[in-house]
C-alpha cells in the first residue's frame, strides 16, 4: 500500500489488509539497506492475528519515494507522519538496528503515540567503523560482504523467511544490493550508516520513553552485541530483555524465537 507521507509516496506492507482503526497497530521499521521484507514472517503473523501491520520501506528505500533520512530524528518524523497518514493514533513500534533507534526517538518525542517499543538488535552508541563508512561509498559490494558476515551467526539456519531452502547470507546480500540500486540519487547505505554513527541522543531519548520496552537481542550478534545495549536497558523505565541464539539478523535467523518474544510482549 502506498501512503503519501511528507509529500512523497511511502510504501507500506500491510499483510494485504486495510487498516482497521479498531485494532491495535504494529509498525515495523527496518535497518540500514533493508526494507519491509526482512519482517516477512512476523508481519504476516501479526496481520493475521488481530493487528494492523504497517511495515514501511523508509523514504528513499525500495518502493518508497522521497529523500532517504539523513538522521534518526528525520526518520522518526516520517514514522509519526505515517501514523497520521494511516489514521492511527497509537501504535507498537518495532525497529531493527537503525530502525530501533528510529523507533526509540519517535517514542521519546511522541510518547502519546506509542503504546509499546521493541528494539531488535540494538546498541547505543551505534558506532559504525571508519572502514565500513568508507567502503559503503568507495566499495559498497565489499561493505555489503562485511556487514553480512558480521550479521549472521550460522551456516545452518532453521527454515526462515522464504521457507525451507533459503540461504540467508545470499538473501541478505541480494536485498542490500537491490535496495542500494533502488535509489540512484543517493547512497542510502552510507546515509544510513552515518545516521546511526552520528546519533547521540540515546540515553536522553530512552529517559523520555514512557511505555514498556522490549530489547530483543541476539546472543551471537557481532554487529550490536547484547552488552552494547546495556546503557539503554538500564535507562529504560519499563525494560525487558529477550535473548535469542542468533546473530544481528535475528528476525530471519531465529524467526520462531523472535516471533515468540514479540507475541509475548505485544499481547501484554
Amino acid at each position: 500500500m502506498i501512503y503519501t507521507v511528507q509529500g512523497a509516496p511511502l510504501y507500506v506492507y500491510t499483510g494485504g489488509k486495510a487498516v482497521d482503526v479498531s485494532k491495535p497497530t504494529a509498525v515495523f521499521i527496518h535497518g540500514v539497506l533493508n526494507d519491509h521484507s526482512v519482517w516477512i514472517l512476523q508481519t504476516r503473523y501479526f496481520a493475521n492475528h488481530g493487528w494492523n501491520v504497517l511495515a514501511l520501506d523508509l523514504p528513499g528505500h525500495g518502493r518508497s519515494g522521497g529523500k532517504a533520512p539523513a538522521s534518526v530524528q528525520e526518520a522518526a518524523r516520517s514514522v509519526i507522519a505515517l501514523l497520521d497518514a494511516a489514521g492511527v493514533d497509537k501504535a507498537i513500534l518495532i525497529g531493527h538496528s537503525f530502525g530501533s533507534l528510529i523507533a526509540m526517538h519517535a517514542a521519546a518525542e511522541h510518547p502519546e503515540r506509542v503504546s509499546q517499543l521493541v528494539m531488535v538488535g540494538t546498541a547505543y552508541p551505534m558506532r559504525v567503523s571508519p572502514a565500513l563508512l568508507e567502503n559503503s561509498i568507495s566499495n559498497p559490494s565489499k561493505a555489503i560482504d562485511m556487514v553480512n558476515v558480521f550479521s549472521h551467526s550460522t551456516l545452518a539456519p532453521p527454515p526462515s523467511a522464504l521457507g525451507p531452502g533459503t540461504w540467508l547470507l545470499g538473501g541478505s546480500k541480494a536485498l542490500m544490493r537491490r535496495i542500494l540500486a533502488s535509489n540512484p540519487n543517493e547512497n542510502v547505505f552510507n546515509i544510513g550508516f552515518k545516521a546511526c554513527d552520528q546519533y547521540d541522543q540515546g540515553e536522553t531519548d530512552m529517559a523520555k520513553v514512557l511505555c514498556a520496552t522490549l530489547f530483543l537481542l541476539g546472543s551471537k550478534d557481532q554487529m550490536t552485541p547484547p552488552k552494547a545495549a546495556q546503557s539503554l536497558i538500564q535507562q529504560a523505565r519499563d525494560g525487558r530483555v529477550a535473548l535469542v541464539k542468533a546473530g544481528h539478523q535475528l528476525m530471519v535467523e531465529a524467526p520462531e524465537e523472535s516471533l515468540a518474544a514479540l507475541i509475548a510482549f505485544c499481547k501484554k
Binding site: 506492507y13 494485504g16 526494507d35 519491509h36 521484507s37 516477512i40 514472517l41 504476516r44 503473523y45 493475521n48 492475528h49 525500495g62 560482504d145 562485511m146 553480512n148 558476515v149 558480521f150 549472521h152 551467526s153 550460522t154 551456516l155 545452518a156 539456519p157 532453521p158 527454515p159 526462515s160 523467511a161 522464504l162 521457507g163 525451507p164 531452502g165 533459503t166 540461504w167 547470507l169 545470499g170 538473501g171 541480494a174 536485498l175 544490493r177 537491490r178 535496495i179 546473530g247 524467526p255 520462531e256 516471533l259
Partner: protein, 442 residues
C-alpha cells in the same frame, strides 16, 4: 560462523545448511524419510499454511534433508535459495512454468541437451509456450528473437556436447534490456568451475544427477534463484503477473510484495512443487549431499584427467577433431579462458576418422569407459549422441548443436588417467583395423 569473510567454497560444500542434529547430535545430515510433520497446535498449523511461520508440513513441499541440499547449492552458487526437484528436467520445467503460461515465448540456445530441446521444441509448444532457438554465440540473433511475449532467455553454461561456452555477460545484458531473466543450465560446469549468477545469470538449474551427485546413483534436479532479477522493474512492463499480481491460489499473495528478492522461489515452491509435485526424495537429497561434500576434489580430478585425455586424442592420427575449449581450435577457447579459468569441464566430443562402422568398433572395444546415457559420473563414460541422447533431433538441428553423425561423446571420470588413455589407444586401434579393406587399409 567463523572468520571475517565469507566462507570459501570447500567449507560451504561441507557445512552450508547443516549443523549437528539438535535432537540426536548426529553430525552427518539425517535422512528425514517422513511424508509429514506433526503440528504443535492448530494455530501453528494455520500459521505454517499461511506463511506466517517457517517450517515443514509435507515432504512434497519441503523436507529437512532436502532443505540442507537446497541451502548448500544456493550457498555454492551465490544464490538466495533453491528448490530440489525430482530430476534436472523437473527443475527446468519448474523454472519455466513458474514464470509463464500459454501465450508466452522463450529465446533459447540451440546448443542444448536433447531432453531440454524436446521439452522446449515439442512438449511446451503443446501447452502454448513457444521457443525460438538461436546459436548461442550469435548475440544479434538473441536480440532479434525477442518478442513482446518473451519471458525468458535460456542456455547452457557449456553446451552439451559441443562445449560452446555461453557469453553470460553479453547474453544476460541483452536479456535484461528486453526485461527478461536469463536462466542457465549449469549441469556440466557445476559451481566449482563457474558461478553463472556472478556473471549475469538470474536463475540456474542443475541436473544434480551429474557432477553434484557425482557417482551415477540418483536422479535429481535443483533450481537456484540469484535474487537479482527485479520482477516488477521498469523494463519488465508488467509481464510477470504470476509474481507481481495477487495469486488466488495462495491467499491472494503478491509474491513480490512479500519478498523483494525471493518472489520466484516463493511461487515456485507454493505453486510448482505443490501442484506439479515433482519433488525430490530425501534419500536422493542425502546422496547428492554426499556427492557435493567432495565436489571440489572430484572436479579438480575430472579436469586434470580431461586435460590429459584431450591432449592425447588431439595428437592421434585417427582423430579428426577434438571439441574441447582447452584447445585453441575450439571456437569458445578465448571465452572459456575468461569464464572458466579452472577448466571447461570433462564432457566433450571428438570425431573419429573413417566410417560409422569404425565408430562402432571404437565404442565396442572400450573396456574402462562405460557405454551408457549419462555424464558426470565418477566413472568414465562414452556415448554416440546421434543415435541416443539426440536421437529425435533432426540432422539440421543436430548440426546446429555441433554434433555430427560420427561424433563420440566422452565424460571423463576419476580413474587413473594412464588407464583411460590406454583404453582409448586400444579402441582407436580397433577402429583403425575396422577400416574397409577396399580402402587399402590392412
Amino acid at each position: 560462523m567463523p572468520g571475517y569473510s565469507d566462507p570459501g567454497f570447500d567449507t560451504l560444500a561441507l557445512h552450508a545448511g547443516a549443523a549437528p542434529d539438535p535432537a540426536t547430535g548426529a553430525r552427518a545430515v539425517p535422512i528425514h524419510l517422513t511424508t509429514s510433520f506433526v503440528f504443535e497446535s492448530t494455530d501453528q498449523a494455520a500459521s505454517l499454511f499461511n506463511l506466517e511461520r517457517a517450517g515443514h508440513v509435507y515432504s512434497r513441499i519441503s523436507n529437512p534433508t532436502n532443505a540442507v541440499l537446497e541451502q548448500r547449492i544456493a550457498a555454492l552458487e551465490g544464490g538466495i535459495g533453491a528448490i530440489a526437484t525430482a530430476s534436472g528436467q523437473a527443475a527446468l520445467h519448474l523454472a519455466i512454468t513458474t514464470l509463464m503460461g500459454a501465450g508466452s515465448h522463450i529465446v533459447a540456445s540451440s546448443a542444448l541437451y536433447g531432453g531440454s530441446h524436446n521439452l522446449l521444441h515439442y512438449t511446451l509448444r503443446r501447452f502454448g509456450i513457444d521457443t525460438t532457438f538461436v546459436k548461442p554465440g550469435d548475440l544479434q540473433a538473441w536480440r532479434d528473437a525477442v518478442q513482446p511475449n518473451t519471458k525468458l532467455f535460456f542456455g547452457e553454461t557449456v553446451g552439451n556436447p559441443g562445449m560452446d561456452v555461453l557469453d553470460l555477460a553479453a547474453v544476460s545484458q541483452i536479456a535484461h534490456q528486453a526485461g527478461v531473466p536469463l536462466l542457465v543450465d549449469a549441469t556440466l560446469t557445476s559451481p566449482w568451475l563457474m558461478k553463472p549468477l556472478a556473471h549475469g545469470a538470474d536463475l540456474v538449474v542443475h541436473s544434480a544427477t551429474k557432477f553434484l551427485s557425482g557417482h551415477g546413483t540418483v536422479i535429481g534436479g535443483l533450481v537456484v534463484d540469484g535474487g537479482s532479477f527485479d520482477w516488477s522493474g521498469p523494463h519488465t512492463q508488467g509481464k510477470f503477473e504470476e509474481l507481481t499480481q495477487a495469486y488466488a491460489g495462495f491467499h491472494n499473495m503478491v509474491f513480490t510484495e512479500e519478498s523483494t528478492v525471493g518472489a520466484f522461489l516463493l511461487r515456485a515452491r507454493r505453486e510448482g512443487l505443490r501442484d506439479f509435485g515433482a519433488c525430490m526424495s530425501p534419500h536422493t537429497a542425502w546422496l547428492i549431499l554426499q556427492g557435493i561434500e567432495t565436489l571440489p576434489l572430484r572436479m579438480a580430478r575430472h579436469v586434470s584427467n580431461t586435460e590429459k585425455v584431450v591432449s592425447y586424442l588431439a595428437a592421434h592420427a585417427m582423430v579428426s577433431r577434438v571439441g574441447h575449449p582447452m584447445l585453441e581450435s575450439h571456437p569458445s577457447h578465448a571465452l572459456a579462458k575468461q569464464l572458466l579459468p579452472r577448466g571447461a569441464g570433462s564432457v566433450f566430443s571428438f570425431d573419429i576418422r573413417g566410417t560409422r562402422q569404425q565408430g562402432r568398433a571404437f565404442i565396442e572395444a572400450l573396456q574402462v569407459f562405460s557405454h551408457l546415457a549419462n555424464v558426470g559420473d565418477c566413472r568414465s563414460l562414452v556415448i554416440h549422441p546421434a543415435s541416443t541422447t539426440h536421437f529425435r533431433v533432426d540432422d539440421e538441428t543436430l548440426k546446429a548443436s555441433g554434433i555430427g553423425p560420427g561424433t563420440v561423446r566422452l565424460s571423463i571420470g576419476l580413474e587413473d588417467p594412464d588407464d583411460l588413455i590406454d583404453d582409448l589407444k586400444r579402441a582407436l586401434k580397433a577402429a583403425e583395423k575396422a577400416a574397409p579393406a577396399a580402402g587399402g587399409a590392412a
